[in-house]
Symmetry: C2
Subunit: 154 residues, 2 copies
DNA sequence: TATTGTTATACTCTATAACTATA
DNA sequence: TATAGTTATAGAGTATAACAATA
């Protein structure tokens, strides 16, 4: 017997509320590690590889002027470093420090774990269907590599 | 033939990126109507019915102290009103004004339309499956009536 | 000239603590 | 005392505009 109330949630409503749920998980995990969501996002993006300020701004969807302060704050906490780029004295590469990478991996793992619990009550078949549908939507719409897969060696 | 790259996006990654996509839609629609996402969220919540400050704060997930300013700003723009509650002179009911309701309906419609386009390339069967899965996850986790269904008479 | 990044400024969002008024 | 809401304060995030240094 299927619960009746599940039927009157339309797709858009479901998407908005799911998004609320996911953002909540991300925010709580970030907070637990004394990071703002924006800071945690930066760390996760940089876990893929170092990036220049302009590229990082583009991935985060903020103006590069705003990124200056964001990077300043995580740099003050020794989570990232600005490294000179040989051959272009205007540019900086933002890279994770050791503890920055550790933080990125931990946040990433915990977010994955909590999201795993959220979808954990779905039957495996449904879960795999959801995964495939999401993959399709994501790739179709070219969502940037926010939250990339992270190599597990901290 | 299924595209290979859709297979190496795991569920957590898909959820985080989908959430990014949805938040982006919500932010762009809000901006188009000269609203911040927080303001648009308030309007959509109030479209269900008027609410007290404490209840509204709870739904938004912010402290009531912070809500004061949020409501101040939308009230200055004549989108909501604070109405006295008969029988409790401490309390206020925050209610949509006429133009506030119009704004809520418009934002809601446009968000639904844009999300509809995003999932529009899915075959109808997949779309319905996604809807059902989302409904199940949402109801299981008691996500509050953020983004309620809205009666269409503006 | 175009690009990379920063500074200056202003506003929104949000939290915490202390407060007022009413129940 | 407890509850509804506000004020004060501070910090984070973000946008725009103007700027410096380099390509």
């Amino acid at each position: 017997m299927i619960a009746r109330d599940q039927e009157d949630i339309d797709l858009a409503t479901g998407l908005v509320r799911l998004s609320h749920l996911v953002q909540g998980v991300f925010a709580r995990v970030s907070d637990r590690h004394d990071l703002t969501p924006a800071q945690a996002r930066i760390l996760c993006i940089l876990a893929e590889r170092p990036k220049g300020m302009a590229e990082l701004a583009g991935l985060l969807g903020v103006e590069k002027a705003g990124l200056t302060g964001l990077v300043d704050r995580v740099e003050h906490r020794s989570l990232v470093e600005r490294r000179a780029v040989p051959g272009d004295r205007r540019a900086w590469q933002v890279t994770l420090t050791g503890i920055g990478r550790q933080a990125a991996v931990t946040v990433h793992n915990e977010v994955c774990a909590e999201l795993g619990e959220i979808v954990g009550e779905l039957p495996p078949g449904e879960r795999e269907r959801l995964r495939r549908i999401l993959a399709r939507v994501i790739t179709t719409h070219g969502v940037p590599p926010i939250f990339p897969a992270i190599a597990q060696r901290a």
